[in-house]
Assembly symmetry: C2
Homo-oligomer: 244 residues x 2
């Protein structure tokens, strides 16, 4: 029965163009077209009263959870000897906002979003739509088919897991390496140590050839230096592609 609906959706319905384009990113024609359309409605496209049910926010909430579990299990099985800290870090590299925005962009979800929204697209609308799409796939196909879809059509198609694994988010060492290549010196300077909610907090600056490039605050001096280094790399335009 569902098969007939899918056939109809693909060939005859008024949404056949949408269905065809969806098929190219899903690998199947959806049965419940309205559900998949909903995945691309940003809340600004609806009235305030109705946006709960006429925007992709609920689907995004569901898809976010489902995607998180699929990625968690994928990593759990891929790395049987790694500890929880490694797995959690890898997972957040994959499901973090920037990463999902980038995947959604590669998948071409902007085309769908442009069709259903009048507002200007923001980067985060891309990642949200990807989560909402996973939510829609889950409702239509259940957990295991969604898992196959996510692993084969998303993770394996758009992510280099080994690159992520070795991807260095130690910004301090990256900045150092970059500056050494250019014969520059990097130094860190503690600008202030103060009490915040009864805890010590540090403000540090990173200087390149004695010129202050960025500052950051943290409860931990080393973390403040990391954040300052990351900011400096953004300022200098040398953040690596994986994190952009």
């Amino acid at each position: 029965m569902k098969f007939l609906f899918r056939l109809y959706n693909y060939h005859f319905s008024k949404d056949k163009n949408f269905a065809k384009r969806l098929r190219s990113i899903l690998g199947f024609t959806p049965y419940n077209i309205a559900l998949f359309k909903l995945a691309f409605y940003h809340k600004s496209a609806s009235t305030e009263k109705l946006y709960a049910i006429r925007s992709n926010e609920r689907l995004e909430y569901l898809g976010d959870a489902v995607l998180g579990t699929i990625v968690a299990e994928y990593l759990f099985k891929k790395y049987p000897n790694k500890n929880e800290g490694f797995l959690t870090k890898m997972r957040s590299k994959i499901v973090k906002r920037q990463s999902l925005n980038k995947i959604a962009d590669k998948m071409g979800l902007d085309v769908f979003l442009n069709q259903y929204n009048n507002t200007k697209l923001s980067r985060s609308m891309l990642g949200n739509a990807l989560e909402a799409l996973v939510g829609a796939v889950y409702l239509e196909c259940g957990y295991y088919k969604t898992k196959n879809y996510v692993i084969n059509k998303i993770l394996r198609s758009y992510l280099d897991i080994h690159e992520l694994e070795t991807f260095d988010d130690n910004y301090k060492s990256q900045l150092l390496e970059h500056c050494q290549k250019n014969g520059q010196t990097v130094t860190y300077k503690m600008l202030a140590k103060y009490k915040f909610e009864k805890r010590d907090r540090f403000k540090v600056a990173v200087l390149i050839d004695d010129k202050k490039i960025a500052t950051a605050d943290d409860f931990n001096k080393k973390s403040a230096e990391q954040t300052a280094s990351e900011k400096a790399m953004q300022t200098l335009g040398i953040l690596t592609e994986t994190d952009s």
Copy 2:
């Protein structure tokens, strides 16, 4: 075949007592006894090098994700007209640390934990073991059976979802109500407004009959008042059971 193993585990194995007690909380006898034992090993029970694979941390990581998705879907379907904000808030009320610790306590997981660990039990070890148990059930039974288990044996058995729904985490109004009953007056006083990382931040105090009971900082004055009220209620010992 699995059936025979289960029969053996329950009646003849050296772990038959463990299997019997597990059956009482799971509703089935596990096939992979070692996996379920692992769910109760705190990392302190292993050497540092091996704790990644000989403690419940990896299972907890997996179970946390699976539980989060099951609860997310349960709420998504239970409240078809509620917006994402409501669903997210309800979900966090259910899966937050304190809530899981309390459920695990009611389930009697402390007995299992005491058996496999030499350290003194902390409250958070209970919630962690519950997540690890869900992880083990998932690995043994797959998504749908785990979903049934979580909904029927955990959510419906140990949580009052309607109480959670109406549970008031507006500490300001709760504190006010409490004090009015006792003929006391509640006032809030802004102690400081200062810049923190370029944003305004507020320090407020809550006073009962002009006596300062608690203070809190936040970027938002109202949130600071909420937090101060919560702290005041803790100090006065009047926080409601659901949140303890």
